[in-house]
């Protein structure tokens, strides 16, 4: 019996490894293909698709970055993501504390109401907001977009953070309060430092959410100078057939920061992005 098992085991193992390798190649190879093609001329992309570039045209990255506003888009995205994540994390942590530790009548109902917001798709929000802002004469989309990004991040953030606060012993604040510290002060001085790991999680989660948004940007941004990276590069597809490499370089410019950050912080990113789902 044992011999039969050991005799079969290596084959199963080899099949498993082969499967994993083929699957991984299916993930990595398209990325490499885009990377290699982005460094080629139109002719080469057409005639020798699988060969390495004869001349490695790295200059294309510089061109796309400067000539086509990609620089502006990139910095805009950094701005939107940083500001909205900062606002969201501060107010959500405060609210999470109020919704777990504090004692009030409608606490449970309020919490449930906020979580219900998870089910509402952004498509139901954009028309009223678009009309409302147009009627109010809002021309600057920055405030609208940041508002939307913050609001959509609030339910998950409160959910994750309050789960963490519940696991902290209440004696922490009690001793501070006995020494004459106000509750809000105790929250910022004692609780917030303990929240660091969970704050890191929600920062990653929300930053990627905002960074990768396309829909909200598409609807509320009309000026070139306000565009996000995702919105900006989406138009490259239009003149794709004349200059393949421009689009491919633009794709790589959006992907490369993700790959760099991910290669440093894989574990945090994986647990950060799945935190909401796994805890639900």
């Amino acid at each position: 019996m044992n011999r039969v098992l050991t005799g079969r085991q290596p084959i199963i193992k080899i099949i498993k490894y082969m499967f994993l390798c083929i699957y991984s190649i299916a993930i990595i190879y398209p990325l490499l293909f885009v990377l290699m093609s982005s460094l080629k001329s139109n002719n080469e992309i057409f005639s020798t698709p699988f060969a390495l570039p004869t001349v490695w045209n790295f200059k294309i990255y510089y061109d796309v970055w400067t000539k086509f506003n990609v620089q502006v888009y990139f910095l805009n995205s950094v701005y939107y993501a940083t500001v909205s994540v900062a606002i969201c994390v501060v107010i959500s942590c405060m609210a999470a504390y109020g919704l777990t530790r504090m004692k009030w009548k409608l606490k449970g109902a309020t919490f449930a109401f906020i979580l219900l917001g998870l089910m509402v798709p952004m498509h139901s929000e954009v028309v009223p907001l678009y009309i409302g802002l147009n009627k109010l004469g809002f021309r600057d989309p920055k405030i609208t977009l940041i508002g939307i990004f913050v609001a959509f991040a609030i339910p998950t953030t409160i959910f994750i953070v309050s789960g963490f606060i519940q696991s902290l012993p209440i004696e922490l604040e009690e001793s501070a309060v006995i020494e004459g510290c106000g509750l809000i002060k105790a929250f910022f001085l004692i609780i917030v430092p303990l929240l660091k790991p969970v704050i890191a999680t929600v920062i990653i989660f929300n930053f990627l959410g905002v960074w990768n948004d396309f829909f909200a940007g598409l609807i509320f941004i009309s000026q070139e100078g306000d565009k996000t990276l995702q919105l900006g590069i989406s138009r490259f597809q239009g003149n794709f057939s004349t200059r393949y490499a421009d689009l491919l370089a633009a794709i790589m410019i959006t992907i490369i920061p993700s790959i760099i950050v991910y290669s440093v912080l894989q574990d945090q990113i994986i647990s950060g992005l799945t935190a909401g789902a796994v805890k639900g």
Partner: protein, 292 residues
């Protein structure tokens, strides 16, 4: 202490900022959106109350709406079929103490961190009839084709669904892996001692214990497929000839290209109820299974 925890002012300071922003940007517009579905308005002329006329037109006359409904359902079902079994298989393999587990997990999860736009543009290139990777690879194995995968009515929708799966399988794999890790080791050891083979272990022990996690995964796939927009907009724009039109893209075209704000709101309202309905339904389905 107890008095401090009941202090109204403190509670308001803590909860109100988040609650107000949430209220302004999520529940309030959602309600207004439902109300707007009862009017006819292009934002320039008079707003006209038309009752349920938008919905009547939507259900009875708008043939594109029904194409979009059909395509959205195909999108939901094929996404689930493509992503969940594959994610389960990968998670099951990786959770059995393989060497290189972290490496494979990290590679397979990688596309999750990319934006939908970047992935769509990448696959726009992969599916390109002349210079695309897919047709080039097919040529290598002797199938010469200049099929435009995104430009063909028969393949456009599935090409998008496949791209979505390429990006998201890693996400569901990690959720399943977390679920498998939470199963007590003793349970699996005991099953092995009792002579349970790999196959039985997977289906009789791991799979049933994983149902709560599978439920979460199913809700996420169904709701995100219902809302699918970025990939469709960038890769096919709903075409060719509405062959890949989904509810979200139809709503976008009606509202922001044709300026029918009331009508667009009606589509958005249908979409919202589909999202809420399917979440409730999936939760129900799995709870009744738990009881068994």
């Amino acid at each position: 202490m107890d008095r401090m925890l009941r202090d109204r002012k403190t509670i308001l300071i803590l909860v109100l900022p988040a609650f107000i922003i949430f209220l302004i940007f999520i529940p309030a517009p959602a309600v207004v959106s439902v109300l707007l579905s009862l009017v006819k308005w292009d934002m320039i002329g008079e707003m006209k109350f038309v009752g349920l006329d938008n919905f009547k037109f939507l259900f009875a006359t708008d043939y594109v709406f029904w194409i979009a409904v059909k395509n959205t359902l195909i999108f939901v079902v094929t996404s689930a079929i493509l992503q969940m079994p594959m994610a389960f298989l990968l998670a099951n393999i990786l959770s059995r103490g393989m060497k290189g587990k972290t490496f494979f997990r990290n590679v397979i999860f990688l596309p999750v961190t990319f934006s939908g736009v970047a992935v769509s543009l990448m696959f726009y290139f992969v599916y390109h009839p002349e210079v695309g990777l897919l047709n080039r690879l097919l040529a290598l194995i002797g199938i010469n084709t200049d099929l435009s995968w995104l430009g063909n009515e028969k393949t456009a929708l599935l090409a998008v669904v496949f791209t979505l799966a390429w990006q998201w399988i890693g996400y569901h794999m990690v959720i399943f892996m977390a679920g498998i890790t939470n199963i007590p080791v003793e349970l699996i050891e005991a099953a092995k001692i009792d002579g349970c083979n790999e196959w039985k272990l997977t289906w009789n022990i791991i799979f049933p214990l994983l149902l709560p996690v599978i439920k979460i995964s199913a809700v996420l796939i169904v709701t995100s497929s219902l809302k699918a927009f970025d990939m469709v907009y960038i890769m096919t724009f709903g075409g060719p000839n509405h062959a890949s039109e989904v509810l979200a893209s139809h709503m976008y075209t009606k509202t922001f290209a044709q300026m029918k704000f009331g009508y667009g709101s009606a589509i958005a309202t249908v979409l919202m109820f589909l999202c809420i309905g399917s979440t409730v339904l999936i939760n129900r389905m799995f709870t009744s299974k738990d009881v068994e």
